[in-house]
Amino acid sequence: MEQVRQIEPDLAFIGELMSLGGGDVNKCVQCATCTSVCTLSTNNPGFPRRQMLLAQWGLKEPLLSDPSPWLCFYCGECSKQCLRKANPGETMMALRRYLTSCYDWTGLSRLMYRSAAWELGILGLVASVVVLLFTLPHNFGFGLLSQAGPQALSRVMLNQFAPVEVVHRADTLLALMLGFFLLSNAARMFYRLTRNQQIPASDYVRRLPTMLFQAVTQVRWKGCQAGDAIKNWLRHLLLASGYVLMFTLVVIFLPWFQVSNDSIHWTSFLGYYATGVLLVGAGWMIADRAGKRGEMYRFSHLSDWLFPILLWLTAATGILVHIFRVQNLPMPTYVMYVVHLAIAVPMLVVEVPFGKWAHLVYRPVAIFVDAVGKDAMARSV
């Protein structure tokens, strides 16, 4: 006797998904053109067709345990070919937004995805905390600077403003906090994806290298046969390399990276590369999104904008700090330093574990779980 599952559509879920970008999901007539044109969709039943149906019917549970939304890199070929203009590509994007908000156990993510005011408010709050940290205490920031005497205003003495050991400790704390939220959310996701599967742990262990390899290279993207997939992949790879490099410089090598005076260190050259890649990469993406060049950029949620804009601003203010310091302009350096951190810190604290950036772990985890599932399927056949 076949199992019969009783289903009840969740209208609230449908409404939420529609507000997150899945507004055309109801137009789908299940013709499967999307799945046919997608070169990445090798699952059975394939995406995005199945996800469209589940979304239309408001079946939240199966979607929460589905890695498929993360297997898509949004080339948009499905949306282009869709006979009903149901925009399956954007619906998959909306699902990723929705899932990001669900995997986060703090609820912060959900608040931010549902409301622009919350998102901007929290970013602003963290930025204010950063600014206050530099202005209120007497032994840090402007307080410390006032004790350093007039020479700190005639030549750049960054350690008299933001002592590197203090900042380094704060960085480490920030990285730990960020890692904790990100990994705990990823663990929740992993649990949702795997709890109904009967696959031995050894299978997962065997596929761990896949996850790491995909996280570093994002090479699955290359499998997409859409016209500009390779370009998008390379651009994303460069951007990611710049971002990771910069993060490493700041969190691990800060004592060498944050130089107090106008001298130049070996770390500066790595910083130049990272800054260049971030400025060009993020700037290019912003321009593409503003010009709606390509399917991927046709629809934009606030989270899609904040992601590259914050990144670009971080890189731009960072290089300005560097320029002001090398030019020996003390006050501009200090002020720009505060501005730089007032952008970078909220970006890292808020966007990485709770925002769109979380995809940097969700995507490899999904690819990993999918690969393990396919292994098990292949063995059982």
């Binding site: 199992q3 599952r5 009783q6 009840e8 409404g15 109801n26 137009k27 149906l53 239309q56």
Partner: protein
């Protein structure tokens, strides 16, 4: 009997290059004693035609044989007095273009065709079209959408209309429906139905005589001269009309047969028609307790597309469900509407409305099969769905389940004499024969029904024709269709009805031999009252008196000649088509002696499909065996088996019959002709065996126009088989 035949040979279009025209002239003049024989290099040109006209006008000839292209070509050029005997000999497509040029076999073929043509023309007599007083009024039966449209259309075109409706008001099914499907851009909003306006227009129309609460008690006569007796409240009165549009609509499929979909198990399981009343109440009241329904589940194809019920798609249920879903959401936008379908049929612009309704977040569509419908505690109904798109069986609970039931035509089928009318079809309708038109025809009181219980004929070729001349089905009784389609259909049927009265008034055949002035006459002195003609006529044209003597109705006749083929006494003849004429054509074929080893194969070809298919072979300049002699027949059903005996006794080695496809999806222009011919052939084969002739010498083939490319091979294979069998032993007797 005409005496002076004029033979006009065209030597153009490469006929003169392939054939020895001089020898053809000799055949016409010396052998066939033609009064006049002329050759012209461009016979269909003004000069050639002038020669023919001059001879006819000067009474030098009274019958004309045109030996040129296929009779299907240049019909406008070779149109003379329509009553004058005329025969076309196909020297171009069937000889010059499809056989070796300057070849003795091709020459012999052409000469035989010429002999056959001259003999036939010599036996033809001038046509005398049927005469009689003709009524141009049109009777419309049924006052629903189709009937009202037909009545309005005919009346506006200047024809008197009698509109009969059995209910006390006009409007039909639409009278119960609040809003109609969109019929103009942007095709996304329901619209009001202006039924009152339409009814008023008809009531006020000076040409429309309106009878509500009235039924047809009796219909007798024939196109152009029907006498219709109507009854209302025991009063009865007569109208004389020329043609009839039957727009009796549809009946919902009996939901009592839908027990497997839960009908009857709960008051909350209703049909789409019953749900219309729930919608009209305005509160979506659940039938069991009157509480507002928060979820409604539609089961599509309830009884349709189901081999145990209606085998066809009822065409309206999908759009009707979408309309009802829309109305539900107009009352309560939060109500969940589930639609379980096999396919969503939303033709044409309806796609836009479908898209609009589907786009509502609380509309849930799922392709799947309903496997169980079970009422639950608390008045909900659980519906189980298998083979659905989710890939696992699911169950949905709803307050109300609506069965989108299909529709059966309101046709009454035919009596037992029309055995081929689908038995299944007859069971769909609860109507008894005699309850709609009450024809006094010998073959039964109602329109014969074809596949699936709809009265009609080949839908592709003849969309409006039924198997009764001058009576046209329109709207949902004709085929499953919605109101908009029914309006279009009614316009088409009305045009046909108008065409019918006009052609009948000129003594012409209506269909499919439109314009034909010939008709069969019966030499009743020799009739044996065997009734074969009255039984076999596919159109019920022949009634009987008490003794069984046929009573022919010319205007019901379609001039196919099935009666002529049926008659064992050979007493049924047209003035230009008779058993004797074809027999004489067969005798005119020169059969070479046994020693020449040249077989002769006679091919009886239906002139509607097989013959034009062979023309196409000529047009493509493809070759086939020159030992065949083709005789076109109006319909293979007019084949009289005496011709086969004649052919074999003349020494013809084999006979091919090429007719249209028959069966449920028949292509025969006369519905049953090719089938009847095949039946007759079975009887002939027994006779052959008695004569110790191989039955393979006679074979029937079904040919459709698009299979023309196979013809040379079919002919070649048959001729080779005959060569293997050896010559007809009766040669030379």
């Amino acid at each position: 009997m005409s005496k002076s035949v004029g033979v006009y040979i065209c030597s153009g279009c490469s006929i003169g290059d392939s054939l020895d025209v001089g020898r053809l002239t000799n055949v016409a003049q010396k052998e066939c004693k033609a009064a006049v024989c002329r050759v012209h290099p461009f016979l269909c040109g003004d000069e050639g035609l002038a020669e023919i006209r001059q001879d006819v006008a000067g009474k030098a000839v009274d019958s004309v044989v045109i030996a040129a292209c296929s009779p299907r070509m240049k019909t406008a050029a070779f149109a003379f007095d329509p009553c004058m005997p005329l025969d076309r000999v196909n020297l171009r497509e069937h000889v010059a273009w499809s056989h070796s040029p300057k070849d003795e076999d091709s020459q012999q073929l052409a000469e035989d065709y010429l002999r056959m043509g001259v003999v036939k023309a010599g036996k033809m007599e001038p046509l005398e079209p049927p005469v009689g007083e003709v009524s141009r009024a049109i009777l419309v039966v049924g006052g629903g959408t189709a009937g009202m449209t037909a009545a309005r259309g005919a009346a506006d075109a200047g024809y008197d209309v009698v509109l009969v409706e059995k209910e006390s008001h006009l409007g039909g099914r639409l009278a119960n429906v609040r809003t109609g499907l969109p019929n103009h851009a942007p095709y996304t909003e329901l619209q009001e139905i202006d039924l009152a306006g339409k009814i008023q227009t008809l009531t006020d129309h000076p040409r429309v005589t309106l009878h509500t609460a009235t039924q047809v008690a009796r219909t007798e006569g024939q196109p152009g001269a029907f006498t219709v007796t109507l009854t209302r409240n025991d009063q009865s009165f007569e109208h004389r009309v020329g043609a009839i549009v039957m727009a009796t609509g549809w009946t919902p499929y009996d939901p009592a047969r839908l027990g497997h979909l839960g009908y009857g198990k709960s008051p909350n399981i209703v049909t789409n028609e019953q749900f219309e009343a729930v919608l009209a109440s305005g509160s979506l009241a659940r039938p069991s307790d009157g509480k507002p329904a928060e979820s409604v589940l539609f089961i599509q194809c309830a009884g349709s597309r189901d081999k145990n019920h209606l085998p066809y798609c009822s065409a309206v249920c999908c759009m009707d469900t979408l309309r009802q879903a829309d109305l539900i959401h107009q009352t309560n936008p939060e109500a969940k509407v589930y639609i379980i379908y096999k396919d969503v049929i939303a033709p044409g612009q309806y796609e836009r409305y479908y898209a609009k309704v589907q786009n509502h977040p609380a509309t849930f569509l799922m392709k799947g099969e309903v496997s169980a419908v079970n009422p639950q505690n608390g008045d909900k109904v659980a519906v189980e769905i298998q083979n659905n798109l989710l890939g696992e069986s699911i169950s949905i609970r709803a307050d109300v389940v609506v069965l989108a039931t299909g529709y059966a035509p309101r046709a009454a089928g035919a009596n037992g004499k029309q055995a081929q009318a689908s038995e299944q079809g007859a069971s769909f309708s609860s109507l008894e024969p005699g309850s709609i038109l009450n024809l006094t025809y010998r073959q039964g009181p109602e329109l014969p029904v074809a596949q699936d219980g709809f009265p009609g004929s080949n839908f592709i070729c003849f969309p409006y024709e039924t198997l009764r001349t001058g009576i046209y089905a329109a709207g949902a009784v004709h085929a499953p269709m919605d109101a908009a389609a029914a309006e279009e259909d009614a316009c088409g049927a009305t045009m046909k009805a108008i065409q019918c009265v006009e052609m009948v008034s000129r003594g012409q055949a209506v269909h499919p031999r439109a314009g034909d002035l010939s008709y069969p006459s019966f030499f009743l002195q020799r009739c044996t009252q065997c009734k074969r003609c009255t039984v076999e006529c596919p159109f019920g044209a022949i009634d009987e008196d008490e003794k069984g003597t046929p009573k022919f109705n010319a205007n019901r006749c379609r001039r196919c000649g099935v009666c002529m083929g049926a008659c064992p006494e050979r007493i049924i003849s047209f003035k230009n088509y008779s058993v004797d004429m074809i027999a004489s054509m067969i005798k005119a074929i020169e059969v070479p002696g046994e020693e020449e080893e040249k077989p002769r194969i006679l091919v009886f070809m239906c002139e509607n499909d097989a013959y034009p298919a062979l023309d196409i072979i000529g047009i493509h300049h493809r070759q086939y065996d020159a030992s065949v002699r083709v005789i076109p027949l109006r319909c293979l059903g007019s084949l009289n088996i005496v011709w086969i005996a004649d052919a074999l006794s003349r020494g013809i080695d084999g006979v091919m019959l090429m007719g249209c496809k028959y069966g449920d999806d028949y292509q025969c222009h006369f519905a049953k002709g090719s089938e009847i011919a095949s039946r007759r052939l079975e009887n002939v084969k027994e006779t052959l065996q008695r004569l110790q002739l191989e039955p393979e010498r006679i074979q029937a083939f079904q040919v459709s126009m698009d299979e023309y490319a196979r013809l040379p091979e079919m002919i070649g294979t048959f001729v080779n088989r005959i060569r293997e069998l050896g010559p007809n032993p009766y040669k030379g007797f």
